[in-house]
Symmetry: C2
Subunit: 318 residues, 2 copies
């Protein structure tokens, strides 16, 4: 029976559960809704049940589990005070899954898992110093330095989404104000849409759409692709704020590459082109024209692959 | 004849040259003025001459040279575009010293050298994740992650002094505006003094002093120690800006400790006490009350020791 590891990517909206071979292929996967479980214990049970079902259907045997989650602490195996998840406080998810599936389990920040995926099968192969930024429900990041993930002293490093970029700026789920993710996450961009619709009277595809249903960040990208000026302005403003935060982060770890991943990264050049301009303009001169700013070369399931790879590494080092 | 390495700490004002034993003791040292040499080649020649003189006087033999310098690039061995040094462009100092003294030579950022010193003989023994911040003519930083210095892809990581904390803030020597070091370096604090003296009319020890001679950052510390309200306000404002920048840096590397080193750190509790308050208030809640913010436990020659230690390590890995 083939040995596999489970790779689990917990997002603010959906959770993807996959089985990953030692060679780094996803054998099969299934998506469940993160928001459908009021109790974290029910969510953990749903994950375990899904893993068991995938194992049965693929006739494989489980070696270890890797989990990427917002505010995931690699040292404690807990999700700690995640503002974008329905459960508050510390959720000892790795312990629960380990008990229920009876295999070694590692849990880390979802962006760290995606960074490992990028290094294994994406655009970061052979890179020793890079940043992967996830632009999803929140903004996450995985920092790789000297070839290794930066976990930090407490296992919680890489919270670029909670770097304050505007003093007294937008209120954030973390309890503070002005965090990057209040502007450049998918939900942050939707907040910008509402502010702009309120503040100006210009016609826009977004205004028309907002009269019929709730706006999503993908609406901004689609309207911008059709040349909608308001949508282009919103992406430009988002790029300016992200460029500022990334330029400041470069002054700390000086990466060769920065990769964008997640929902908003699907805006592609519509975001990347203004972002490159702002990023360079904010960079300390010694870093200018050195750093590659690109979209992740990974499919959506990169974080599943990365989490699976972390599980395999956990198994190999035991 | 005892083998030694030379450890050289290049500051914006003075350069300290010492001979360091393999066990990490400084045998002897001498200070030269960094600003006395209009040509970088003359400065390099003065360093080599001083090393030779120290070797002769101590009857020791040279194994390798380690240099800590502002904007020092460990990969190229050059000082690159240092705003606080008299020579512009790229200065290939390691090559020059290597040729002149005929031993392996390593050059890095001065704060990195101090961080190595802190780890060897200071308060960072056994720590794997910490930041050392130098508050001198400029603001420098050495980030240690997973037990190793963060050099970055280009060898120029750790420029915390050039993180922008105020959009459209004070003009910086780097050509941009609002960098941390324009506020919290020794020279930044003196700029604050002049702004405050200009903007307000209150009497202050600083105002009296400014009528007789140029103000130095140590005057602020001394006036604050005597209870001078204006000086205390200036230290409070400096602490606020430094606390903000440090809290944002924590969200990236999540250190267990942050050490302050250099001229302004001599303000001790007068700076540290307000700093701790601001720092905690700006931290993401998951990091609050976890991080030790302390003065460096090193003597002034820590960077010489650190640079010497880097030279020894260079020798050992060859």
């Amino acid at each position: 029976m083939e040995q596999v590891c489970a790779g689990i990517d917990i997002g603010g909206t959906n959770t993807v559960i996959g089985l990953v071979s030692e060679s780094g292929k996803i054998c099969c996967s299934e998506t469940i809704s993160t928001r459908a479980y009021q109790q974290a214990t029910d969510f953990a049970a749903a994950i375990s049940e899904t893993v068991k079902k995938l194992l049965r259907n693929s006739n494989t045997s489980l070696t270890a589990v890797g989990i990427g989650a917002p505010n995931g602490n690699v040292h404690t195996g807990a999700i700690e005070f995640a503002p974008n998840l329905p459960w508050k406080g510390k959720i000892p998810l790795a312990d629960w899954i380990k008990t229920s599936l009876n295999v070694p389990t590692i849990l880390t920040n979802d962006a760290n898992a995606a960074a490992v995926g990028e290094k294994l099968v994406g655009a970061a192969k052979n890179l020793t110093d890079f940043i992967l930024v996830t632009l999803g429900t929140g903004v996450g990041s995985g920092f790789v330095v000297n070839g290794d993930l930066v976990y930090g002293a407490d296992g919680m490093a890489g919270e670029l989404g909670h770097v304050i970029i505007e003093r007294h700026g937008r209120v954030c789920g973390c309890g503070r104000a002005g965090c990057l993710e209040t502007y450049t996450s998918a939900t942050g961009v939707v907040r910008t849409v509402h502010e702009v619709l309120e503040a100006f009277t210009e016609p826009s595809l977004l205004r028309t759409l907002a009269q019929t249903r709730e706006i999503k960040s993908s609406d901004v990208t689609e309207a911008a692709a059709q040349g909608d000026l308001m949508a282009l302005d919103i992406l430009d403003d988002t790029a300016e704020k992200l460029g500022f935060a990334l330029a400041n982060a470069v002054a700390i770890t000086s990466p060769s590459h920065i990769f964008l991943f997640g929902g908003l990264a699907k805006a592609g050049d519509l975001l990347l082109q203004p972002l490159r301009g702002y990023f360079e303009s904010f960079l300390l001169p010694i870093y200018q024209n050195k750093i590659t700013l690109a979209l992740s070369a990974l499919p959506d399931d990169a974080a599943v692959l990365g989490a699976g790879a972390l599980a395999w590494r956990l198994h190999q080092t035991r």
